[in-house]
Symmetry: C2
Subunit: 222 residues, 2 copies
């Protein structure tokens, strides 16, 4: 059996995707749209233009495909956020870059939202790719905060809890986006909308970290 996990993007290279790649793509979209249990192998193979047996052949089982989809979708997310967080030397700048990359990547890949949320909703232990992703992003943030605390530019307190408080901003803005739109009257449709939102989140975080940074303007009170 062929067990390569990074199938690469044959489509971007102009070549037509292999059956394996088509299954990964169809699986990502359909799992995200309807959830694992509500998505049938038949709908996936149908959408991918593959035979019913293709999932079993290439991934062993429906669950095998699902895990491959998760890994394929989350690995780039980890990479993008890591690169951003490590692109600056000043901790607060790193945190800001982290927030922007986190926010932007989930915006560019809307399927990630449902894919991750479904896992968070289940009771059991998290799948390895999901756990790795959270661990990675969370660790980056914690280190940045600890560095800022040593430097004196970030207020005291448990760095893990501060990391949660910071990551909460892009997390809810993206993971709960449908709620914000349907029940909060907050649209993320236009680029201006999104810029206002991310700038607000960054300002809130800088203030919350006790760090009135350069891009923070909180003279406030209308």
């Amino acid at each position: 059996m062929n067990d390569r996990i990074g199938a690469g993007s044959a489509r971007a290279a102009g070549k037509e995707p292999t059956t394996r790649e088509a299954l990964l793509e169809a699986g990502r979209e359909l799992f995200a749209a309807a959830g694992y249990h509500a998505t049938s192998i038949r709908s996936i193979t149908g959408s991918a233009g593959a035979n019913l047996g293709a999932v079993t052949y290439h991934f062993g089982s429906k669950e095998g495909l699902y895990h491959a989809v998760l890994e394929n979708a989350l690995a780039p997310f980890r990479r993008v956020v890591r690169v951003a967080a490590e692109s600056r030397t000043a901790p607060l700048e790193g945190i800001e870059a982290f927030l922007r990359a986190f926010f932007q990547h989930l915006l560019d890949h809307p399927e990630l939202r449902a894919l991750m949320l479904e896992q968070l909703a289940s009771e059991g232990p998290l799948p390895e790719p999901v756990k790795r992703t959270f661990r990675s992003n969370f660790g980056l943030l914690r280190k940045l905060i600890e560095a800022g605390q040593e430097e004196g530019t970030i207020c005291g307190g448990d760095p893990r809890l501060l990391a949660v408080a910071v990551a909460a901003q892009p997390a809810v803005l993206n993971l709960l986006r449908p709620v914000l739109e349907q029940a909060g009257g907050i649209s993320t449709a236009s680029r201006e909308d999104r810029e206002v939102i991310i700038e607000n989140a960054i300002r809130f975080v800088r203030a919350g970290l006790g760090a009135p940074g350069p891009s923070s303007d909180r003279e406030a009170v209308r």
Copy 2:
């Protein structure tokens, strides 16, 4: 067909629950544990000690039971948060009470986490009870923030976005609790743990709102 929606708690009154109530309770637990599609009517009626046909009889269909479960679980949540938010006159005190009630209620009713997350993960429109709950909680927070802005105790900015930033704290602390434990090393097991967490969130929010309130101590820098 009997279509009462608030079945009340016969158990608390000492009487043994009716079939209808037993179905609601079993449905709440099982839907939360495994999700809607992965929970069968047979497992629900089995767990409730009822006949296979009981769900169809009392709720019309599996989906009917599901909606009744959602409404039954979310109505008290709305009520508790509303009472807390309106219990104080000072906006910042109201926000603090909101945060504590929000956090505490989700802690007391752990099934709500999975129940809500599954809905947030789906693509389609939110069920009415879920939408109502978010709208209610979100609206309370926005009004408190607007009042604080008029008063001059809360910094400027779009009150809706500030409300999201504030609500993000109890939301991730509870909705993403398994992640925080499994991938963030943050435990909410003991009462001390939880107190440190909620106090940290409140401090972060007060600072983020540009409002160094009475219970905020941000001289900072270790």
